[in-house]
Symmetry: C2
Subunit: 242 residues, 2 copies
């Protein structure tokens, strides 16, 4: 009895979860919930052409019980250098082999460094010692900021970067539970954790149809998503333009 | 002769310089110019109450010959946690001893991590391997992200965070030439380098007078600035409210 009373009154530890609106970060958020964290979802309105993902992020955060959802405005178009924030063409119809190698034009310079920095700031403000993000080193091997050594270096930085880390010696932990999973693994794990993939938005270059949008089915992100669902043996619930 | 011809045709190395509009970052920018870098100035419109500093940043960047000045919109009010981005009162009339110890309410959580991350992104886009910033470990000893160990950890992160660092092994260098200088040293060095301090804006809480603003003369930043000018034996050219 005492245990349960104590359990009710003690605040649960908090985790800041980067939630893009895509399927990977939704599963990462679900993992944090599964680990009994109170989750604070964080998204970025960064000038991405697939801004549609922000409404998906809000729905995902609500469906998975985040106690709060923050959207930080950050105009990365000023920095440039990416097809996601400029008029550069988004690659289409590439093979998964091509997607897995080299650096595509959809690479946003230092994006995960920037997003984790803001997650670190928010973690300090809300008293969280944990950050979850849905990076994956298999599908995005061309992105250096999706690799284990990057995440380890960021944890080391966090230990000296904030008052919480440097003064109170609270070691921030970065959780990337999807880091070594295939897309099919992610689909299966998400279903186990009760993620509603119909709420998620993955496409880099959505097609406007009437008042809504459809996933293009041809950009790198769509191709990897569709392949993951196919390999896991499930039908992707989101509608595609073709 | 060959040397001078080659000198004319070779592009100069580039440095991204964080320029807030304050006196410290102006001197850091002047140091980069003195080292013969082509400089790209970077400022942030982050919801700071002393937004007046952005026009100062533009003037400083132009006066010191930056080849470009970028202002990134980043609304840190969403993150909160600081008197600089909220309605919390800015401390006034504190002694320099009090300013030098503890963490004031003007601390912006993880600000230098966030700003350096965006400088890192811009460095990758413009092909710069150098970042200059005007942090100072003496006056702001309560800010962990103004310390040498923080800067070293960020350099280590940069080596694995970007395509330039991780794939092309271009080691980014962080330059903090003011790190161990007193405010009086900074005033003297700035004068040597031709910095026009009349263009700079330091005050956290400027007083609106007619169409313009005056520095308050009472916040931590004003107190340290005035003390620096006094110790260096020069008159601060900016006008104060009192």
């Amino acid at each position: 009895m005492l245990g349960s009373i104590r359990g009710m009154s003690e605040p649960r530890p908090r985790a800041v979860c980067l939630v893009s609106g895509g399927m990977d970060s939704a599963v990462a958020l679900a993992e944090a919930r599964d680990r009994k964290f109170d989750t604070v979802a964080l998204s970025f309105d960064y000038g991405q052409r697939h801004r549609r993902e922000l409404s998906a992020a809000a729905q995902v955060a609500a469906a998975l019980g985040a106690i709060e959802h923050k959207v930080v405005v950050l105009d990365l178009r000023t920095i440039g250098g990416s097809a996601l924030t400029s008029d550069l063409a988004v690659p289409k119809d590439r093979s998964t082999e091509a997607i897995g190698h080299g650096v595509p034009t959809t690479y946003v310079p230092a994006r995960n460094t920037v997003f984790l920095s803001l997650a670190l700031a928010l973690a300090e403000v809300v008293g969280a010692q944990h950050i979850y993000l849905g990076v994956n080193a298999l599908d995005y091997s061309g992105y250096p900021d999706c690799r284990p050594e990057f995440l380890a270096a960021f944890e080391a930085l966090a230990r000296v970067a904030t008052v919480a880390g440097a003064e109170r010696h609270e070691a921030l932990q970065i959780h990337a539970p999807l880091l070594k999973m295939t897309k099919a693994d992610i689909v299966r794990r998400g279903r186990e954790l009760g993620v509603d993939f119909a709420l998620t938005h993955t496409c880099y270059d959505p097609v406007v149809v009437g008042a809504g949008t459809l996933a293009c089915g041809r950009c790198d992100a769509c191709i990897l998503r569709l392949k993951g669902f196919a390999e896991a043996g499930f039908t992707d619930p989101v509608p595609y333009a073709e």
